[in-house]
Symmetry: C2
Amino acid sequence: MSDGATTRVVIIGGGFAGINAAKVLARDRRIAVTLIDRSNHHLFQPLLYQVAMAGLSPADIAVPIRGLLSRFRKVSVVQDTVTGIDLEAKQVSATGQSWSYDYLVVATGARHAYFGHDEWESNAPGLKTLSQATEIRRRVLQAFESAENEEDPEVRKELLTFAIVGGGPTGVELAGAIAELSRSTLTKDFRRIDPRRTRVVLIEAGPQILAAFSAASAVRATRDLEELGAQVWTESLVTDVSEDSITIGNDGEKLRTRTVLWAAGVHASELGSALSGELDRQGRVPVGADLSVAGHPEVFALGDLARTEDDSGAVLPGVAPVAMQAGRYVGRLIRAELAGKERRPFRYVDKGQMATIGRSKAVVETGRLRLGGFLAWAAWLLIHIYYLSSFRNRALVLVQWAWSYVTFGRGARLIVDREWRNPET
Amino acid sequence: MSDGATTRVVIIGGGFAGINAAKVLARDRRIAVTLIDRSNHHLFQPLLYQVAMAGLSPADIAVPIRGLLSRFRKVSVVQDTVTGIDLEAKQVSATGQSWSYDYLVVATGARHAYFGHDEWESNAPGLKTLSQATEIRRRVLQAFESAENEEDPEVRKELLTFAIVGGGPTGVELAGAIAELSRSTLTKDFRRIDPRRTRVVLIEAGPQILAAFSAASAVRATRDLEELGAQVWTESLVTDVSEDSITIGNDGEKLRTRTVLWAAGVHASELGSALSGELDRQGRVPVGADLSVAGHPEVFALGDLARTEDDSGAVLPGVAPVAMQAGRYVGRLIRAELAGKERRPFRYVDKGQMATIGRSKAVVETGRLRLGGFLAWAAWLLIHIYYLSSFRNRALVLVQWAWSYVTFGRGARLIVDREWRNPET
């Protein structure tokens, strides 16, 4: 499809990195972009836990990739699963088609991982996709329903115990939200159980939750979680997950629970192995200062797929700002190169980090500034609404959050069957 | 659980009939209500097609039954599947529990039916539940995506052909919405296909679509559908549905299509057989003038489950207003009877009927008044927002509709996998 004058860029992955690269490249008439994703939507992943916790609907945080890019006539969006990359032939192939490229941008992200225990997954769903979010929502809400129906007090207790594995921002958000759900939203809904007796345990293998934050912020978050009614267990390595319990450490310490949520490990997309033979332990592709893959200056790995180091050799974290900045950087780099300019190295501008714990509770660190409580929460809210507003859902999300804040309610408390066929009779 | 002074009413089904009965009964301190539903949410079914057509999210038209009734302390909501009704022992049993009743209200509705061809279901989903709505949404959106990827022009044509079986209000709404989706929303999104070439065929076995309406309204609706780009085939009986075609009549006339939606037949819930040995062809329970079941004045069948006749012997249609009025009627009847009053027969107040076809297109009939076009559409909009407002979602739905109207967009264009586990690698 190359006509000589047109440079063909293939982007794999419609997450923060891929979309941002596409938007920069799309403004250049010399470039034809093909963006391939196996899903039809771009996901605002930082708010995915809100879908899992019944606060938002899937459509509030997801937009069709086509819609985001439809105004750019030289961008083609393809919903397909990439099956192979041929770096020598400069070709990408998918289920039923293939594309030649001049530049290739791979930003296929990461999935959650179980440290070699994939068998845990059915008892401990992770949170990376919309269908995982609705599955978690279904499990959490169903646990309360089942507890209400349960005669056996032991089983009822198991049903009202929720374990969240992994004390990063996602784990903290989930633990805080389940605690809030049980202590505010659901209190009046049940007749036989008291949802306020719900036990929420956040389990972290390391010495502190929010490991990327300062010790002071971690303490603050722990106190906030405890105030909401959640417990925080640090230095607790999960060694087994079963249908009705989770095992900690090697002494066989057990927590009896029917609902385990997994927010502990991630592993980069398997496509990385097509780009490099030297993936790190998390499956990430090592990249150079220009985010290109060793030996292939025309191939870039971005976002959670890549192991990106800053000047000091520290690995950049797998967060949205890194992916967005990397996407824009590679877009600009390709355009500059076509204009005959030299490559300049990627510089990540760290604006800080934040994690929300619950209503009016969050921790924010930016530069030397450390915030907690309402102020941090308000900052979190503003920043997330600002970024969401690059899509269309701002008004909707605002209405729902305002409503939730006033009423303590959650609008999307739906248990939807996975099976759509008529029930057996 | 009876303490002598308390009358126990068990309601099965949290649709329009069940919820309305519960709300009336809940205001009487002498009555303890148990409402059992297999799902956790009440569904605003008249807008279900909007979820299927990517205009609204599931949570916009569904509310937790618990939330609707939580303020009534003597109402218990149970999420469970009823497995048996013992009319003699006056007992209802579910998976793990049972309830004795003084009055029983059964309002379990209807499912879609395939005239004895249940094998058609996997190729022709119906539209009764949220999971069916998201399945239809997934299929319709995926058909456009697959067409964009398809090299074979014949297959592409099949992918861009949509057949809707059944010319009632739901069929008309679906046909109009797919036509609109292809002619407005999606036009700029694809590069290889032209969504405006999409073929939408509404297939009706009888001589006119919207059989319950006047011939004039049916003609108006047909013209509106054709203007949107849909075709209407009347007197076309479907005799087979396969993966890539639908067969009409006995001469083997075939329409090649990869997407068939079923809006043709319904069959009342199987629980009817526990109430009566004389179900009609659609499985409905015949009820008396007081909506009670023959031989059991303490047992009522309501809504789509019941065959309710008016004074002239005509059967009332399976629409929301009949179910709502029947629910309130039975609630009041039970309260009046407890106050020593005689039963008075149910009188359905017919306020008319309406079907929407698309943007600024609808038909409304009320009394002698017949409306079409923008005015009918505005009436449809107002009435649906009014009824939705008994739940909490009014503001959200308004924001989304206003946005859709201005931009011709649809906010919930998501293809979400049914499988939530990590994809195979």
